[in-house]
Structure formats: structure tokens, C-alpha cells
Symmetry: C2
Subunit: 258 residues, 2 copies
């Protein structure tokens, strides 16, 4: 199998990158060959896995704009079985430069197809920036599945209408098979009633679409990137590690069933 | 005095709206006449102060695009001395519609000037969306001061380069007097070492520019908008209320000195 999962939500700071890093690392730990594609000019996924952005000549920007192959951009990480196609600040211009390109939303999908002729990754994960711009659209068009992380805060559900309608339009016109793999409740602070209230809201509204395990607020998760490590290597017994292992198990179940 | 303060940071979820609501409410409580201008299509400042968005015919979108006066858009809030010019989802289109308008970054400034011929507000605060687009530029061009809320998380400093260079360019070309009133450390979780580390980093780097009081992470602050109340009315003795009173005091000192 070769499955591609985009991690999307135009809301800032709802744990897309933390999910991208830790879900891909846990899948790699389980023995799958995993590629993480960083599609955010902020490059936090790349930085959090120890990529030296300054020293890396080509990035996903070159794949989208300069016709580079993904294989020219891919490097190993310190996590066994996990490779990364890193980002850099040039991606901030990609949105504008793609505007007039023919098939501008399909560039990444074609690049992944070409890569698959040479290199087999069982899981490809894409970390998106907090926007629904042309770069993020490339991720949704390339993906088999979308994971939507949502912070359990008041108002978090409202931003999702726009994301869902974007996915519907992509499904209708560009990628007929894309599906939502699941909604992931993140930054869940179990001591607070507002967190529980929003989690109930999410579960009542989206039902089986919601991953069973919410990702709890856990300080270890915001420390791990400082040490360039995924949570299961930085703090193996932490709540954060437990939550991401549980998510990984559920992602495997939901994707293998298809 | 009539002072205009824009609350800006293109990073999502770093407490712009929470700061806009509570700083403007505390200033109003101190007896100042305050106007809060909501410039975010998500309209969280408007919602958090109890505005019925569906029932409100005109919004700041109409001020930017349809030549409406701010006075047509302003309504009272349940907080004495605090009025609001509310937002709605139409603002999402303003960025594109403004692109070809002459003087497109100066529309709000002119609207505020016209308002001042009729209505005196000692403080006008502007809540911005998490972007540096044309709508946010209108806020920076209209402002005497900018407050920059920054979450005390790893990476939070990096996004600030772009914001600072944007303010520099505005200062150079469109608004020669705009100044940074201060950097506000937000969502400061004093139990975690990463929070302290980032706070030290911010204070070492920006020195006197940093407001003395960080805003601590306090659950009451994320509950207050559910009840459509500012923190000092929702939870008067909470850490969140204390922090915003301290900030208000410091904002008054820094703006009255000029
Ligand atoms: N479950 C968690 N517990 C504690 N901290 C977390 C958790 N998830 C994320 N964080 C921290 O919150 C901040 C934002 O998380 P992250 O970068 O993953 O969000 P994002 O959605 O990728 O943000 P952006 O929209 O800017 O790309 C980071 O400092 C991260 O370390
Ligand atoms: N100091 C705090 N303590 C606890 N919760 C907070 C605090 N500040 C903000 N929050 C909560 O965090 C979330 C994000 O805050 P807020 O909406 O103020 O950020 P923002 O910068 O305006 O976000 P956006 O970029 O989406 O406009 C909200 O649910 C809010 O209630
Ligand atoms: Mg991210
Ligand atoms: Mg806001």
C-alpha cells in the first residue's frame, strides 16, 4: 500500500505540525517506511525533526515551482524509516507564483506519482500551513485522506465549515477519491470544563469521524521539538507519547481497512 | 487624546482577540470611551462581546469596501463606555476586493478620521486576523501604536521578523508615526520550563519593549467568551483579570506619556 495523508486546518496553532511529526515518527517506529512532506514556509516540521534549513539547498518550494523531483529534496531524519521533504521560507512566495500555472493544484500529486516509480513509502504525510491557499490545495489534491486536528476550544468548530467545503470542491473537481480519515481533538485540557464541552460537541456532531483518543495538552509535546525529537523518543512514557501511539494504531486500522 | 492601537500578529491563536476584548473592556471600566474595531472575518471579538452577527446589517467590511461610515457600523456593548464596530464573514473577500482600490491600505484611517469629527473615543483598538493582508495593513496604517501578542512557545519569535518588517515598510511609506507600543507575552504557563525559557528570550531580545506583565494561561480567559463577558466581569478575582488590569495600567502609562 502507499497511502498519502494531508494534515489540514486553516486555524493556526491547532497542532498540525505536532501531529505530523509524531504520527509519522510512530508509524516509522512500527516499521512502515514513512515520508513527511513539509508544505509550510515556517518549516516547523522540518526544524522539529532536526533538518538544517539553512544548509538544505532544495525544498518543497522547488518541487512546486522549479520542477524539482521529490527525490532531490528528500533527506533521512534521525528517526529510522522516516524521511522528510523539507520546507523553507521560499514557500511563502509559492502561492503567488503558482497562480498562473496550468494545473496549479496538481503539481504535488504528479511529483508524488513520479517518486513512487522509484521509492516506496507506505505512508506519506503532508504538514500544511494554516491556510487554504494553493499550496495547501496541492496537499488535498495529492492526498488519499485528510486528518483535521481541532483544538478543544470554544469557536474551534466554526472554522471547519470552510475547510469542509474546500475538501468538497476538491473532491468534486480534482480528486474524486479524497476522504476525511478523521477529526482529531487536540490540546485537550481535561481539567477544564470548556475542553470537555467542546469535545462533546465535536463527538456529537462528527460521531465516528472523530478519532477515539483526543490528544491531551502535555508539556512534553511542546518541549520535544526543542530537542529535535519526536515524543516517543523524547518522553517515552508521557501522556503525549501514549496519545500519539493510540492515534497511530487508529490511523493504521482506518487505512488498512480500505 | 484619541489614541488608536492595532493588535497584530500573523500567528494564529496567540491571544489577539482575548487581548482586544479585555484590554478594551478594562479601559472602558476605567472611564475611558473606547471603540473596538473588529477586522477579522471570524468575528471572535464581536461574538465574545455578545454582538448578534446574523442580525447586524453592516460590518467593518462595508466600511472598507462599500464606503459606509464607522458610525453606521458601531453599536454599544453590554460593557459601559465600550462600543464595537463588528465584523462578519464578508471580510474574507475584502482582501481581494481591495487589491485594485486606490489608496487601498488607507481606507480605515480615513474612516476613523471622519468618525472623529462626530464621536470622540479616547481609545480605539483594532483586532486583526492572523495575517498580514490588506485588511490588517489598513489597521497598521490607521494606528498610532501596535501591540504584538506573542505566545511563550518555542518558535514564537521567528514569525515576528515578517511582522516587524511589515511595520517598518508601513512606517516608511504610509504611516510615519506608527510605533510599537509593546510586545505582550501571552499564554504564559509558569509551571513549564519552555515557557520561562521563551519569556526570558523575549525579554532579553526586546528589553523595555516587552510589557512587564505576561498574560498567564488561565482557563477563565477561554471561558469568558462563552458567556459573552470580558474577564473582569466574568471572573473578577482570576489571574486573567489581574493580568489584564496590569496590562491596562501599563498601556495607559505608555500612551499618556506621549
Ligand atoms: N498536545 C499538546 N500539548 C502541549 N503543547 C502542544 C500540543 N500540541 C501542540 N503543542 C504546542 O503548541 C504549539 C502549536 O502547535 P503546532 O505547531 O503543532 O500547531 P500548528 O497547527 O502546526 O500551528 P501552525 O498553524 O502555526 O502551523 C507548538 O508550540 C507546540 O509545541
Ligand atoms: N491567557 C489565556 N489563557 C487561557 N486561554 C486563552 C488565553 N488567551 C487566549 N486563550 C484562548 O485561546 C484561544 C485563542 O485565543 P484568541 O482567540 O484570543 O487568539 P487569536 O490570536 O485572536 O486567534 P486568531 O489568530 O485565530 O484570531 C481562545 O479559545 C481563547 O479563549
Ligand atoms: Mg504547523
Ligand atoms: Mg482573533
Amino acid at each position: 500500500q502507499q497511502i498519502c495523508i494531508a494534515i489540514c486546518n486553516q486555524k493556526g496553532g491547532c497542532s498540525k505540525t505536532t501531529t505530523a511529526i509524531n504520527l509519522s515518527s510512530c508509524l516509522a517506529e512500527k516499521g512502515y517506511r514513512v515520508l513527511l512532506i513539509d508544505l509550510d514556509a515556517q518549516a516547523h516540521a522540518s526544524l522539529g525533526l532536526g533538518v538544517d534549513i539553512e544548509q538544505t539547498e532544495k525544498s518543497t518550494y522547488d518541487v512546486l515551482i522549479n520542477n524539482a523531483g521529490l527525490e532531490d529534496v528528500i533527506q533521512k531524519t534521525s528517526v529510522k524509516n522516516l524521511d522528510i521533504a523539507s520546507a523553507n521560507v521560499s514557500l511563502a512566495d509559492a502561492q503567488l507564483e503558482l497562480a498562473t500555472v496550468l494545473g496549479r493544484e496538481s503539481i504535488l500529486r504528479i511529483a508524488i506519482h513520479k517518486l513512487r516509480l522509484r521509492k516506496k513509502y507506505q505512508y506519506t504525510l503532508i504538514d500544511c500551513s494554516p491556510s487554504l491557499n494553493l499550496v495547501t490545495l496541492n496537499a488535498i489534491v495529492a492526498a488519499d485522506y485528510v486528518i483535521i486536528p481541532v483544538q478543544t476550544h470554544y469557536y474551534s468548530l466554526e472554522g471547519m465549515k470552510e475547510l469542509f467545503s474546500t475538501i468538497d470542491i476538491v473532491k468534486e473537481r480534482l480528486n474524486f477519491d479524497v476522504k476525511i480519515l478523521g477529526i482529531l481533538a487536540t490540546l485537550f485540557d481535561k481539567r477544564t470544563k470548556v475542553s470537555h464541552r467542546v469535545l462533546d460537541q465535536i463527538q456529537n456532531y462528527f460521531k465516528d469521524l472523530v478519532f477515539r483518543t483526543p490528544i491531551h495538552y502535555n508539556v512534553k509535546l511542546c518541549e520535544a521539538p526543542i530537542y529535535k525529537k519526536p515524543i516517543h523518543l523524547y518522553a517515552r512514557t508521557s501522556q503525549g507519547a501514549k496519545d500519539y501511539w493510540a492515534l497511530t494504531q487508529e490511523v493504521i486500522e482506518r487505512t488498512l481497512a480500505k
